[in-house]
């Protein structure tokens, strides 16, 4: 209990003292997870839209695959990505292992199915006649998709948050493919694990609070965007 208070105090101290290492780790986390989320959006929103609106025979199969992908364990992703990126692996020559890029790749693999699945679910929930109405108004395919995204922006933002949440909070893959190298690939979650294994629970807790704060702020930002849109 008392430890939790210590953690909060420590978190405030670290934040306000502007500890450069904590800042660095926080920014790196944000950059890596933010980028991975972006890429996942670029992959997941189109694929989710295709799954929801497309009319191809294998749709159901892909849908259940994506749903399974939503449960993709970070450690498995970490392991498989490692196997590819290790020097002995097929992509070893790219020398990506233990770099931030490797983490971004792994996190993208984790977040993309989440974004895809939730995008598809969000669009499937819309009235199917809305698509007809939009086409009837002379919208191109892209305009229809854009308008449907606008209609479903609430659950789409939830999908975005879920995607970001799944990567900012995962540790297995970042640890395995990033290597938790200080000043280079150490992100908040891996730093927490490290401090924890050092028995520095208070610092681990402090970093946890910073991580949660980060998630909360990103979240507030998105909620604010979400509330603002209807006036646009």
């Amino acid at each position: 209990m008392e430890m939790i208070w210590q953690g909060i105090t420590e978190a405030i101290r670290l934040l306000f003292s502007g500890d450069p290492e904590v800042m660095e780790i926080t920014l790196l986390s944000l950059r890596i997870s933010g980028l991975a989320t972006m890429i996942s959006l670029l992959i997941g929103m189109p694929s989710g839209t295709l799954l929801a609106l497309g009319k191809f025979p294998t749709r159901k199969f892909w849908m259940s695959l994506v749903n399974t992908g939503m449960a993709l364990p970070p450690v498995v992703v970490g392991l498989v990505v490692s196997i590819f990126l290790w020097r002995s692996g097929p992509l070893g020559s790219l020398r990506l292992m233990y770099t931030p890029t490797a983490i971004i790749i792994a996190q993208t693999i984790i977040a993309a199915p989440v974004v895809t699945g939730l995008t598809a679910a969000a669009l499937q929930q819309l009235d199917p006649r809305l698509e007809q109405q939009l086409l009837g108004l002379g919208a191109t395919r892209w305009q229809v998709i854009w308008a449907l995204w606008r209609e479903a922006r609430l659950p789409l933002l939830a999908a975005l948050m879920a995607g970001f949440g799944s990567v900012i909070s995962e540790v297995g893959a970042s640890m395995m493919v990033g290597g938790n190298l200080r000043h280079y690939t150490r992100v908040l979650t891996t730093a927490i694990v490290l401090e924890n294994s050092k028995g520095e629970f208070a610092i681990a807790l402090a970093l946890s609070f910073i991580l949660l704060l980060l998630a909360y702020l990103v979240n507030l930002l998105l909620t604010w965007v979400q509330q603002r849109k209807p006036q646009g």
Binding site: D127, R129, L130, Q132, Q133, L134, L135, G136, L137, G138, A139, T140, Q143, A147, R150, E151, P230
Partner: protein, 357 residues
Amino acid sequence: MNILEVKGLEVIRNAMKVLTVEHLAVAEKETLALIGPNGAGKSTLLLVLSRLLKQQAGTILYRGQDVSTLGDLAYRRKIGLVLQDPLLLDGSVFDNVASGLCFRRVPKAEIHQRVDDWLEKLGIRHLRNRASRALSGGEAQRVSLARAFVLDPDLLLLDEPFTALDTPTRLRLLEDFRLLVRQSGVTVIFVTHDQNEALLLGDRIGVMMAGRLAQVDQPEIVFNAPASAEVAEFVGVETIIPARVIHQAEGMVIADTGTFQVEVVGDCRVGQDVYICIRPEDVTLLLDSDGSSSARNRLEGVIIRTTPQGPLERVVVDCGCPIVALITRASATQMKLQTGTRVRASFKASSVHLVGR
């Protein structure tokens, strides 16, 4: 030239064939009104015509060109569509009305101008910045209409466009719309359940029944000379009596119902089984004591029911079989008509129509 021509159309929904249209041609600048019972396939036809539902068979020609070669988008940009439900997008009323123009990348200033123009015409200018989720039913319908009209399309496809509107607005709008259609030369296909609307706006009326076009013709013909007993019943011919032609000469026919005989202007083979169709407004009621009339057919009977119908009174007279008359309230009051009154129902030979059975 036909702006739209449909051939051999078949549509299957839900594993049921819901639409079969052998042939339908709509001329440039024509207004075609579609009427028919619920579930007859009217909305389905509009959906197919706007390429929102793919037919299982048949072709649709737009100005002589197969729409499937024309491309759906290019085709849809020529039409304005109002579906049965308003289906507004999340956003303001303005956003909704502007949406089609935005899709077409019309310059902003022009969008504002055209949208405001139509908001004004439809009497919803004051709702311009209202969220579309916070509209009453009729307001939403007006937005949906404005959204299609503002596109200034070549072809308007309207599914029950005026139903949720209040009467004065609807009457005014019908009037405006009629003028607009005439002026702009837009072709219109619209679905309605209001036969007045069909009569007022339609150059031709199509009657759909059970997925087929039972009759497509000028309003007068559809209403006065329906193609079948079903159509007759649907368009408000309330007196439909089975009979057999017993005499035919000089464009005049006598049909016998078993109880009485009716003279009809027409041309039918003797011995043919027919239905006698008489519209209620073509039946005049005379008190027994009244004088003569020019009408050839006069049947005696007793009033078995009277019901008000707008400014008119609907009177059912039992003359062996029920005959329905629609007379002004004024005459009804003057003649003191009520259940049990003995009257003579009279109608002209030219206002009776025979359909085969």
